[in-house]
């Protein structure tokens, strides 16, 4: 197995990149689903909600089929690469972030968008203000997206292949350790993964609770 520090850095880079991309896609998609009166909105919302419950290994298989050398996107040569793993994790985290964003914005007072427009806000100003009003659940969405991405093992194994020195991440290293009966290494990796998850969530929780206490008081 690769050294812990190397695997930790790889895990963090893949999952943080995937979370940032998923936030950039999921929040606007969730916002459109909550606010826009588009045809087919309910069907898309149902797809997003279903995406929240799809097993990560299924996502991994679908992404692997697309990225496989003979697959439709095989020319991009992303299978068994960190970029391929990021794509898989983006697909895992985005529905979760979009779904929570949609629910968070729908939980705001229904008249609020019109009230903001009545005070002269344009579309961009209205959306930004609604995000700020829903900042606590939106941060929860980002945390949930990161948690989902960093903890998944199915897609990382299928798309990344757990190649030592290239695509091995914390979760695949833990599975490999258990498979080889090397529980000491598996527990060590698990402890470090927990510490990473805790550190990032503690940071986001601190920002979230600062926002929450401001809104409450």
């Amino acid at each position: 197995m690769d050294p812990v520090g190397e695997v930790l850095a790889r895990s963090a880079a893949v999952s943080i990149s995937a979370t940032l991309i998923a936030v950039a896609i999921g929040i606007p998609v969730g916002t459109a689903l909550a606010l826009a009166r588009l045809p087919g909105r309910r069907s898309v919302a149902a797809v997003v909600n279903t995406g929240m419950a799809v097993p990560t290994v299924v996502v991994g298989v679908l992404v692997a089929l697309l990225l496989w050398r003979s697959g439709p996107l095989g020319g991009l040569e992303l299978i068994y690469t960190l970029r391929g793993m990021v794509i898989a994790q983006v697909l895992i985290a985005t529905p979760l972030i979009a779904g929570i964003t949609m629910a968070a914005l729908q939980a705001l007072p229904p008249d609020l968008p019109d009230e903001l427009r009545g005070l002269g806000a344009n579309r961009r100003q209205t959306v930004v203000r609604l995000w700020l009003e829903a900042r606590v659940p939106l941060l929860a969405a980002a945390m949930a997206g990161f948690g989902h991405a960093v903890s998944e093992v199915g897609a990382a194994t299928v798309v990344g292949g757990n190649i030592h020195g290239q695509t091995q991440v914390m979760t695949t290293a833990i599975v490999e350790g258990v498979g080889r009966g090397d529980f000491t290494a598996a527990i060590a990796y698990a402890a470090v993964l927990l510490a990473l998850a805790f550190a990032i969530n503690a940071l986001l929780t601190s920002v979230q609770q600062r926002g929450s206490s401001w809104a409450r008081s």
């Binding site: 019109d114 005070l119 100003q125």
Partner: protein
């Protein structure tokens, strides 16, 4: 400078139903108009069209001659719409008031001055650094109005701003609103379902019923000469009685003379009478025989329910002893506090009777 507002052939449909139908409505610059009507009459719909939040299904809404259209942010920014729910954002009071000015790219020092002045005018300057979520309902309504006034809008739209307040808070709030508006030339449209509130803040009052303006007049004209029984009910007449106008113009209720006279035509009519205009007389006098059903004390008066050929309400000053329940009386109507209206049965003939005093 206040805006000139014009509506032409406006129709608005919602849920497959026409909820607003206004052929012509013109507001002069600086005019204050109250829109009075029951719940569901279309009052908020009208405000949303004026605020350019919704577009009419048909017809035009013009602000200083410019037609409202979707996405016309510059036009929308000439209007400030204070909704019934204060809709304050989860930030400080001062930031709430400054934010719409930020959207208009007003420089920070001017924003601060405008916000402070507006909060001071509404008596809530001391709350400037407080979180909006910590305000009482009354304080939030004042901040909501201050936020709208700070914009110095050409058209100010107020949607039942005092609806959630108790009687005491409402009185203080309306006094402050009156004072804040007095120094301005802003055109104001104020929606209410309370006649006292509408009359207090308005130069003219539009009575809106089932999406149509039934009457647009000064508060005094509305109180003295409601155009029909529905308007009379909306403006607060406590008694609406079916009546008959005789050949000589004498108005009778249940075949008994009322003391009222009507100048034109004979036939069925309606009498609208304020409870303060119902005179109680001893049996044998000329008028409508009635029996006292219920007596209760009100603010400075006795409030009396009478059983006559139709139910009647009378208010008499608290000074004397009240009549007893079961007591027989004769009721006469004070011509200065009653109006004779076209009967709904005769409305299609467009009859309009004027009271002769």
């Amino acid at each position: 400078m206040g805006a000139v507002v014009s509506l032409r052939d406006v129709r608005h449909r919602r849920g497959g139903r026409e909820v607003l139908r206004i052929d012509v409505l013109d507001l002069a610059a600086g005019e204050r108009v109250a829109v009075l009507g029951p719940n569901g009459a279309g009052k908020t719909t009208l405000l949303r069209l004026l605020a350019a939040i919704d577009m009419p299904t048909a017809g035009t809404v013009l602000l200083d001659g410019v037609r409202t259209k979707p996405g016309a942010v510059a036009l929308r920014r000439r209007v400030a719409y204070a909704t019934q729910r204060p809709g304050l954002l989860s930030t400080s009071v001062s930031r709430n008031v400054e934010l719409p000015l930020t959207w208009r790219r007003v420089p920070r020092p001017q924003r601060r001055v405008a916000a402070a002045a507006a909060l001071r005018r509404l008596g809530v300057a001391h709350l400037a650094q407080r979180r909006a979520g910590a305000l009482s309902t009354g304080e939030a309504q004042r901040v909501n109005l201050a936020r709208a006034l700070a914009l110095e809008p050409a058209l100010l739209l107020l949607d039942e701003p005092a609806a959630a307040l108790d009687a005491e808070s409402r009185e203080a709030f309306l006094a402050d609103v009156e004072q804040a508006l007095d120094a301005r030339t802003t055109t104001v449209v104020h929606v209410s379902h309370r006649p006292d509130e509408a009359f207090r803040l308005a130069d003219r009052v539009a009575v809106l019923v089932e999406g149509e303006i039934r009457q647009l007049a000064t508060p005094e004209a509305l109180m003295r000469n409601p155009t029909d029984a529905i308007v009379a009910g909306v403006v607060g007449y406590e008694n609406l009685l079916e009546a008959e106008v005789g050949d000589g113009g004498a108005v009778a209720v249940a075949g008994r003379p009322t003391g009222l006279h009507c100048s034109v035509g004979s036939g069925p009519a309606m009498v609208a009478a304020w409870a303060t205009g119902v005179r109680l007389q001893p049996p044998g006098a000329q008028g409508i025989p009635a029996t006292v059903e219920h007596v209760s004390p009100g603010p400075g008066r006795w409030e009396i329910t009478l059983a006559a050929p139709m139910p009647l309400r009378a208010h008499v000053p608290l000074g004397g002893p009240p009549p007893r329940p079961g007591q027989s009386l004769v009721v006469a109507l004070d011509p200065a506090l009653a109006a004779v209206l076209a009967s709904p049965r005769a409305r299609h003939r467009d009859r309009r009777r004027r009271l002769v005093i």
